[in-house]
């Protein structure tokens, strides 16, 4: 076992490059998360409609993202769109599209679930008090639904961050790609490079996701009714 292997991290600007790669990862994730939250909430509220014609298309949309793996979605958009529609998309934009579509679908389901799980008498007593639909949402439903949806929302964000690891497969220059480049360049000098580089990336993901999932569990316990 080569114990000098770990020093590859501190060679030149390697660590800095990895961190910059991580920033790309996080940039994609955070833009997608913001879009997902905003659009997801809107679609989630729409999906509480009892109209089957409104429900169905959104349901199909959600199921498509549940059944087909995200990696496949990345490939589909990455290869199909340029080949058939003469539009050139950078891999980072493809990633953003797929992650936003996926995040929106899941987010809408969380929001919808939170709203319809509210006891029916909350709606009925709001109406009995003469609140308008807007007032009912503003003062009664949204505050309660928020508490129910925030923990699963954070879990979804954690999942999205973890899934950004796949971006390397469509050639986004993010943390893993940078890691692979470092490994290739240093392979002769540091034969154990891949052990340390993948090890450190492993740790980076853990350091981001662990606090998030801890936080969501804490909120869940705090808000449990």
């Amino acid at each position: 076992m080569l114990n000098s292997g770990i020093s590859i991290l501190f060679e030149g600007i390697n660590l800095q490059r990895l961190l910059l790669g991580l920033l790309v990862t996080l940039r994609v994730a955070s833009i997608a998360v913001v879009i997902s939250i905003v659009v997801g909430i809107i679609i989630g509220v729409i999906r509480t409609s009892k109209n089957k014609l409104v429900q169905l298309p959104f349901r199909i949309y959600l199921e498509l993202f549940r059944i087909i793996p995200i990696l496949v979605w990345l490939f589909v958009i990455y290869y199909i769109v340029p080949a058939n529609f003469d539009i050139n998309l950078s891999s980072e934009v493809v990633a953003l599209i797929v992650f936003s579509l996926w995040g929106t679908a899941e987010m809408s389901d969380i929001v919808r679930g939170a709203i319809i799980s509210l006891p029916k008498h909350q709606v009925e007593s709001s109406k009995a008090l003469g609140l308008s639909p807007v007032q009912m949402y503003r003062y009664v439903l949204i505050p309660q639904a928020t508490k129910r949806s925030i923990p699963p929302m954070i879990n979804l964000i954690t999942r999205m961050i973890k899934t950004t690891a796949l971006l390397t497969m469509i050639g986004v220059i993010e943390v893993i790609k940078v890691g692979q480049q470092i490994i290739e360049v240093n392979n002769l000098e540091y034969p154990s490079a891949s052990f340390w580089i993948y090890g450190i990336i492993f740790l980076m993901y853990f350091c981001i996701c662990f606090p998030l999932s801890r936080f969501s569990r804490k909120l869940e316990r705090k808000w449990a009714t």
């Binding site: 076992m1 059944i67 995200i70 490939f75 973890k162 490994i183 154990s192 996701c209 999932s213």
Partner: protein, 221 residues
Amino acid sequence: MTFDWQYMIDVLPHYKTALWLTLKLAFIGIVFAILVGLICSIIQYFKIKALSNIVQVYLEIARNTPLLIQLFFLYYGLPKVGITLSGEVCGIIGLTFLGGSYMAEVFRSGMEAVAKSQVETGKAIGLSNLQLMRYVIIPQAFSYSVPGFSANCIFLLKETSVFSGIAILELTNTTKNLMGIFYKTNEALFMLVVGYLIILLPLTIFLTWLERRVRHAEFGN
């Protein structure tokens, strides 16, 4: 968008092989994940001292890191410290490692959902801890766990697509290779999606049926 149907028929055998491999790896991985999950959840339910802490550390690591990095570490990293594993073995280990933590979570919350009074009644008629597990807690926890269990199976099956990162010729990787050789992207990706639908649609339907079948613990008492 045009499709070369003849091409699709020509490459069908590749997809058939890939589909079986996907199913095989997923099945083995899920079975091991169930075992790991069951053991971890029992350790956590009874709060067995030292072990329970180890399990907690494992759960946190497995749940908070991407499968792809776990696989890269196993497949490319470990050989550098003298442990060489084949791609398929890495895939199964990775899926078990990840899946075990998800299963443990589902089983544990299932066990905790079993009413405390059920456990007390069991004790009051003289059952031992082991008998309590066997006849009271596990059967009931199982029926509480089915929805989460189903979601996990589907999730793990989909995660096998990540195996394409370590050169396993499952569905996604096969597609990638074929695209690289023939440039028939539309056809290849179409078959890829169909491949997953062939596996996941029946599975989804079966699991929904199972959920209805075993719901006995929810009403009744």
